[in-house]
């Protein structure tokens, strides 16, 4: 196995909201009343049913409550064994599924405040992602600006399957705000289920939804690139979270080929898609949708033609690997350093800023 090195960044941790009622202290009177009077149920997305094997590793599953809902577990099972200096919290509470933008906004604000108070305040290694109500760009920008005042929020979080393709100009004010405030956009697996969860309709099974996350990331990358997001916002970084990455090389060959053939349709795309990905897009390590043998995986790393694309992640508490084998077998020490330390710090500028601040204190 490949051993982790100390001082890295775990870029994909999932602290769980125990229940919608856990957010009541963070809601105003009106919304608190709405939740209780209307008997709202918990917002658990069917992307991650609590008891699904993929939602928690057996040895990370608590005796009671949702996996990932206990800070001490997260320290003991994720932060400590991988010796990370920072862990980035990406809450997957299902706030995106509701259809009212007002309700979505209230729940997002409560979720972000809950994260700061119940997690970030309680372990100095933890950093957060700002969950936004993407049905309203105005409300999303306001929430980004509100949370960004806290330097422990290091990125903006969106789901890979929402109402519209993410490159659509509708979303660009969100990207402008993120770029201005030094926040990458994290795009995480999961759906608001406002559209069928595959590009060919509703499948029958949870496993289909999960496998289809990879295809959703592919169509989103196409959208982001060809709409011109990175021509307009060259400094913006986007991180594909829990996306898998072994699909990337052949996906890019195809996109590149069609871009060469019909670039007259999108003349504002001023660089080859491959170059845009290398400069602006990053991928979390887990899950490694790996071939059975490590030799093939190493050929795949060669096909990616860059050692700067991957950011270390455990995807805690999701079940992606056994024991402490978060890093695939046979990685060189140089690549381990890139994945665990150099690439995350180069992506999340706010990590360095807060580290500097802590040092000077």
């Amino acid at each position: 196995m490949t051993s982790p090195i100390a001082g890295g960044v775990d870029c994909d941790l999932h602290p769980a909201v125990p229940h919608l009622t856990s957010l009541l202290p963070y809601l105003n009177d009106y919304w608190r009343d709405q939740v209780t009077t209307r008997g709202m149920t918990d917002l658990v997305s069917q992307s991650y049913p609590t008891n699904s094997p993929i939602s928690a590793r057996p040895d990370w599953r608590p005796a009671q409550g949702k996996p990932g809902s206990n800070l001490e577990d997260l320290k003991r099972q994720a932060l400590d064994p991988f010796k990370v200096s920072y862990g980035i919290c990406n809450p997957l509470f299902g706030v995106q599924m509701v259809f009212s933008e007002d309700m979505q906004d209230a729940f997002c604000r409560a979720l972000n405040d809950w994260l700061a108070k119940e997690w970030l305040d309680r372990d100095p290694r933890l950093r957060g992602s700002i969950v936004i109500p993407t049905q309203s760009v105005e409300k999303s920008v306001a929430e980004i600006e509100r949370c960004a005042k806290d330097p422990r929020f290091v990125q903006v979080l969106m789901l890979v399957m929402g109402d519209m393709p993410l490159g659509k100009r509708f979303y660009w004010p969100i990207y402008a705000a993120a770029e201005r405030l030094g926040l990458p956009i994290g795009i995480h697996a999961g759906s608001a289920y406002h559209n069928p969860p595959t590009s060919v309709g509703w499948g029958s099974y949870h496993i289909e939804d999960y496998v289809a996350q990879a295809q959703a990331f592919q169509t989103q990358l196409t959208s982001l690139i060809v709409e011109g997001v990175f021509a307009r916002h060259p400094a913006l970084k986007m991180v594909m979270l829990e996306s898998g990455f072994t699909w990337l090389p052949p996906y890019l060959w195809r996109l590149h080929k069609f871009w060469r053939g019909i670039r007259m349709e999108t003349p504002w795309v001023d660089r080859a898609p491959l170059e845009i990905v290398r400069s602006n897009i990053r991928f979390s390590l887990q899950p490694v949708d790996a071939p059975p043998d490590s030799a093939t995986l190493h050929r795949l790393f060669d096909h990616m033609q860059s050692d700067e694309l991957l950011l270390f992640s455990t995807d805690y508490p999701h079940w992606q690997f056994e024991g402490d084998q978060a890093l695939p077998e046979g990685l060189s020490p140089e690549l381990v350093r890139k994945i665990m330390i150099d690439n995350p710090f180069a992506t999340y500028g706010r990590l360095t800023q807060t580290a500097a601040r802590e040092t000077t204190r």
Binding site: P165, E208, A214, F258, E265, D289
Partner: protein, 369 residues
Amino acid sequence: MNIQVRDLPEKAAAVSAKTAIADCDIHPARATRTELHPYLAKRWHEHLATYGEHPYQGMLEGPPYPKAQPNASRRDAYPPEGGPQGSSLSFMQKQHLDPNNVVLGVLNPLRTGQGIRNQDLAVAICSAINDWQIEKWTSQDSRLKGSVVVANEDGVAAAAEIRKRAGDRNFVQVLLLSRNVEPLGQRRYWPIYEAAQEAGLPIGVHAFGFGGNPITASGWPSFYIEEMVGHAQCQQTALASLVLEGVFDRFPKLKMIMVEAGFGWAPSLAWRLDKTWARLRSEVPHVKRQPSEYIRDHIWWTTQPMEDPERRDHLFELIDWIGWDKLLFATDYPHWDYDEPSRVLPAGVSEANREAFYLGNARKVYGLA
């Protein structure tokens, strides 16, 4: 045609255009709007003139994503006698079949009854298209073989059409499209698979189609390039559905060919399916084997648009992972993104693999060996 500027230093060493090849994706077109009328009941002539095709998309005619070229076809492929590209057998022979030494050409008619909401109309047009393939194409040139086009959303009617054509050597496969009302593994489509297996016909699943679903899982994208690149994603989810619904356990002799949606995605999809199945197999106990095994045993891919990495060793490694016995050469004639036979495969391929790639695999899959 669109000129694809490619650096191909291996060009000089590339295969001779005179090698006999199969072209597993040729698109025949109708020369006039009324060319199908002899094969359609008069009722439908009037219906079409009055109401149009009424498809699962908004445009009465034509595609909602305008193509890169008229009819998505090469500008040099208009027949001299008039009509759209791909509508003249004699010009197809002169421009493509003869000079490229195509000894087996598989016809995949598009704009048929597939993706039409009125199922009676869909059934009628599909059957008419099949008659038209025989009369205009396959009976006129023995190199050409047809695809049984079926009303995809009406499984029972589709199965009846397949049984009607079973044993007719004019046809070598059943044709479906990747985008349908539901993912292709769903039970509404099983009668099609049952009839195809019974007839000994593989099913070609060609990119495109309309089933009313947004073509990404996040809604409708803006551009034609997104539709084109997105065929690979639609095909992946359609294939995942076929595997995870247990279609290949239910129909163990069924063969499927993924047409015009790339093949580069196949290994990573198979790895992801295997890994996820290892975790979640209790949800799908009807899936008895590793998903990659079904893919290995039941799926073939046509080559166009050919995967085109910067380094050819990456292409060869990719094909090694899939298997040289799994790829069927195709040009997509007369479409604009046509692959030129002599330029597709870089140098460095063994003679046996080259023969399999260009012809041998196709003959085996279509039962013509």
